[in-house]
C-alpha cells in the first residue's frame, strides 16, 4: 500500500496550485458575483490540458489518468468551484463517450472538448425527475436513418457552450431510455436563461428544449435501449470530479478556519487558544484527511474499474460521504468565524453555499445510499 504521490502527481498538483494562485484566485469572487467564468480562465485551463486530463492522447486528452485528475480538480475546487464544476461536467459527458462510444464518435466529439474549445454536457434530468430513468419523458422516434428527439431537459450544466451533449430519451423501439449524442445548437436546440443558483457559481445551469431535433442513427451512444448503463456507469465517473471539487472545498474551509483562529484575538490572544476552537480545528483536520484519501482512492479505482456495479458503488460511497462532509466542514468553519462567517466578505459563506449543492447533484444522496445498499446486500 502506497500513500505517497509520484513526482508527476506532485507536479500536476503544484501546476494547478500555481494556476489558481496566479490566475483564478484574483477572479474567484468576481466569478461568484457575476456567475460567469472569464474567457481567459477557460483559455488558461485549456493551455494546461485540464479539460481532458484523464482521456487518451489519441482522442485529444492528456492521458494523465483519473488519479491526477483528482489532484488537479481538488486545487481548482478549493479556489473557485465554477470552473472546477465546468471541467467536471465536461469530463462526465466525455467519460460516457469514452466508455461507450465507437472510435468514430470518440474521434469526432472528444478532441475539441478535451482542448476546452467545446464543452460536453450530460442531460438526464427533466422537470419531472432527476432520479428515476423510468420517468423520462423526452422521446426519440425513428425516422429513416435518424431519430427525432422532443423534450425538455432541466438543470443542464455547460448547455450554453457548443459541443456534444449526451442526452437520454425514451425510444419508441425499446420503450427504454437510450443515450444519444446531440450536437448542441443544432436545429431545434434552444436553451433557457441560466438558473440563479446559490453555489457553484460560474458553472452555468440551463434548461434545454429539444424540438424535433434530428439525430443521426450513428449518434446512438451504446445500444438502443441501453441508456441505463450509460447513465449509471457514466455518472459514476462524473462523481470522481464532483467529489474532488467538494474535497477542495473542505480544504478551503479547513484552511480558512485555521487562519482565522490564529488571527482573531480575544484579550490580546488568538482564539486558537480556546479549546472549543481547537476541537473544531481537529474536526476539520480529521474530515479533510478522511475525505482526501477516499477521493484519491476513487481516482485510482477509476483508472482500473472493471466491474461497473462495484465501481458505481465506490463512486456513490465517495461522492456521498465527501459532499455531505463538505456541508459539515463549511458549517464548522463558519462556527470558528462567528458572525463574521455569515458575511459575504468572508470566504466561508461562499463555501457553505457551494457545499449545500453537492449532496443534490449527480444523484441525490438518498439515491446514492440506495446504490450502495443495493450492491452491499445483493452483490
Amino acid at each position: 500500500m502506497e500513500f505517497t504521490l509520484s513526482k508527476e502527481q506532485l507536479l500536476i498538483q503544484k501546476m494547478a496550485q500555481e494556476f489558481c494562485a496566479k490566475h483564478l484566485e484574483p477572479v474567484a469572487e468576481q466569478i461568484d458575483r457575476d456567475n460567469k467564468i472569464p474567457a481567459e480562465i477557460i483559455k488558461g485551463l485549456s493551455e494546461l490540458d485540464l479539460f481532458g486530463l484523464p482521456f487518451k492522447e489519441e482522442y485529444g486528452g492528456a492521458d494523465a489518468g483519473y488519479d491526477c485528475y483528482v489532484l488537479a480538480m481538488e486545487q481548482l475546487g478549493k479556489v473557485s468551484s465554477g470552473p472546477a464544476i465546468t471541467i467536471s461536467v465536461n469530463c462526465l459527458g466525455l467519460g460516457a463517450i469514452d466508455k461507450f462510444g465507437t472510435p468514430a464518435q470518440k474521434s469526432k466529439y472528444m478532441p475539441k472538448a478535451c482542448r476546452g474549445e467545446h464543452l460536453a454536457s450530460f442531460a438526464f434530468t427533466e422537470p419531472g425527475t432527476g432520479s428515476d430513468p423510468k420517468q423520462i419523458t423526452t422521446r426519440a422516434v425513428k425516422e429513416g436513418d435518424h431519430y427525432i428527439l422532443n423534450g425538455t431537459k432541466r438543470f443542464i450544466s455547460n448547455a450554453d457552450y457548443p459541443g456534444p451533449m449526451v442526452a437520454f430519451a425514451m425510444d419508441d423501439e425499446s420503450s427504454k431510455p437510450t443515450a444519444f449524442i446531440v450536437d448542441k445548437f443544432c436545429e431545434g436546440y434552444s436553451i433557457s436563461e441560466p438558473w440563479h443558483k446559490i453555489g457553484y457559481r460560474g458553472g452555468n445551469l440551463l434548461d434545454v428544449y429539444l424540438k424535433d431535433v434530428k439525430v443521426p442513427a450513428e449518434n446512438v451512444l451504446g445500444k438502443m435501449g441501453g441508456g441505463f448503463p450509460v447513465l449509471t456507469y457514466g455518472i459514476a465517473f462524473g462523481k470522481v470530479g464532483i467529489s474532488s471539487v467538494a474535497l477542495g472545498g473542505i480544504l478551503a474551509a479547513y484552511e480558512a478556519a485555521v487562519k482565522y483562529a490564529k488571527e482573531k484575538t480575544h484579550r490580546g490572544e488568538p482564539i486558537a487558544k480556546f479549546q472549543a476552537v481547537q476541537l473544531r480545528i481537529a474536526d476539520l483536520a480529521m474530515k479533510y484527511e478522511a475525505c482526501r484519501w477516499l477521493t484519491y482512492r476513487l481516482g485510482c479505482l477509476a483508472n482500473n474499474a472493471k466491474d461497473p456495479m462495484l465501481f458505481a458503488k465506490e463512486a456513490a460511497v465517495t461522492k456521498t460521504y465527501v459532499c455531505e462532509t463538505f456541508v459539515d466542514a463549511a458549517r464548522i468553519a463558519i462556527d470558528v468565524h462567528g458572525s463574521y462567517g455569515l458575511m459575504n466578505d468572508y470566504l466561508v459563506t461562499r463555501l457553505y453555499r457551494d457545499a449545500i449543492l453537492g449532496p443534490q447533484v449527480e444523484g441525490v444522496a438518498d439515491m446514492q445510499k440506495m446504490i450502495i445498499a443495493g450492491v452491499v446486500l445483493n452483490g
Binding site: 507536479l11 501546476m15 486530463l53
Partner: protein, 246 residues
C-alpha cells in the same frame, strides 16, 4: 547552439514547518529555487528565439533524478546530472567545480544561465566561480538578455541604474527574479518530462569541502501589539510601516 541552465535542488520552502524556531526538513518535497526557475524560463525564451537546445545541469543527491523532471517539464530538452548521496551541503566552490566540469562535457555552449542566488543558501557565488573556472565573461543581475548572432546584450539591474552590456558568446549570465514570470507547465509537458534524455556524469566528489551548519533558526515573529485610538494614529502607524504613501 546549446543553452545551459544550472539549477540547484532545494527543499520546498513552502512546506517547511518551524518547531521551536528550527526548520523541520523531514518529509519536505524537493524542488528548485524560484530564481533558478527564472533562469530556466530565460533559457526557454532564448531557446525559442534562437532555435537552440536547452540543457539543465544540476549537482545533488540521488533524489535529483526525480526533481529534475520539474525542469524538463518547464522546457529543458535534456539534463546533465551529477548525483551523489554524499552531496549534502556542499560549499559553493565545490558546486562550482562540479558544474564547470559538467559543462565542459557539453559542446557548442553559447550561454550559461544561473539564478542570482540559490533558494536556500543564497551565497550568490556559483555563477561567478563557474565563469572564472571556464574563463568566460560574466554578467550578473540580468533583467533582460537578447542574443543576436554571436552577440549577447544583457541589461543589468543595479542599485540605482541600469547597465547594458554586450559580449561575444559564450557568456555566463546570472538573472534576477524580475527578468520574467516562469510559465506553468501543462499536464502533457509534465508527463513527457520523465522521457527526456538524462546524462548521468560520474565526477569525483571526494575531498570536496562541505558546509557545517552550526545553527539554523527561523526569525522570531511577534505581533506588534500597537494600540490605536485615533484615525490619525492609524495613518501614522501604517506610514511608519511603509504601507501607506510609499
Amino acid at each position: 547552439m546549446n543553452i545551459v541552465v544550472a539549477m540547484k535542488q532545494i527543499p520546498d520552502l513552502q512546506q517547511i514547518r518551524i518547531r521551536n524556531r528550527k526548520p523541520i526538513l523531514d518529509d519536505v518535497a524537493l524542488t528548485f529555487g524560484n530564481i533558478d526557475k527564472n533562469a530556466l524560463e530565460a533559457g526557454v525564451q532564448l531557446k525559442e528565439a534562437t532555435g537552440s537546445n536547452l540543457i539543465v545541469v544540476s549537482v545533488g543527491t540521488e533524489a535529483l533524478e526525480d526533481t529534475i523532471k520539474e525542469a524538463l517539464a518547464a522546457g529543458a530538452d535534456e539534463a546533465y546530472l551529477v548525483l551523489d548521496d554524499e552531496i549534502g551541503d556542499m560549499e559553493s566552490s565545490s558546486s562550482a567545480r562540479l558544474i564547470a566540469e559538467a559543462i565542459k562535457k557539453i559542446d557548442d555552449v553559447g550561454i550559461i544561465l544561473f539564478g542570482e542566488g540559490s533558494g536556500d543558501n543564497y551565497s550568490g557565488q556559483v555563477g561567478s566561480r563557474v565563469a572564472a573556472i571556464l574563463g568566460l565573461p560574466q554578467a550578473g543581475y540580468a533583467k533582460s538578455i537578447n542574443i543576436n548572432g554571436n552577440i549577447a546584450t544583457v541589461t543589468r539591474s543595479l542599485e540605482d541604474c541600469e547597465e547594458v552590456l554586450e559580449a561575444e558568446l559564450p557568456i555566463v549570465v546570472s538573472v534576477i527574479a524580475d527578468i520574467n514570470e516562469p510559465r506553468i507547465p501543462s499536464v502533457t509537458q509534465i508527463l513527457k518530462a520523465g522521457r527526456k534524455p538524462k546524462e548521468m556524469l560520474e565526477l569525483d566528489v571526494t575531498g570536496d569541502s562541505m558546509l557545517e551548519t552550526i545553527s539554523n533558526l527561523a526569525p522570531e515573529m511577534q505581533r506588534k501589539q500597537i494600540e490605536i485610538e485615533t484615525i490619525e494614529k492609524l495613518l501614522k502607524v501604517l506610514e511608519n510601516e511603509g504601507l501607506l504613501r510609499r
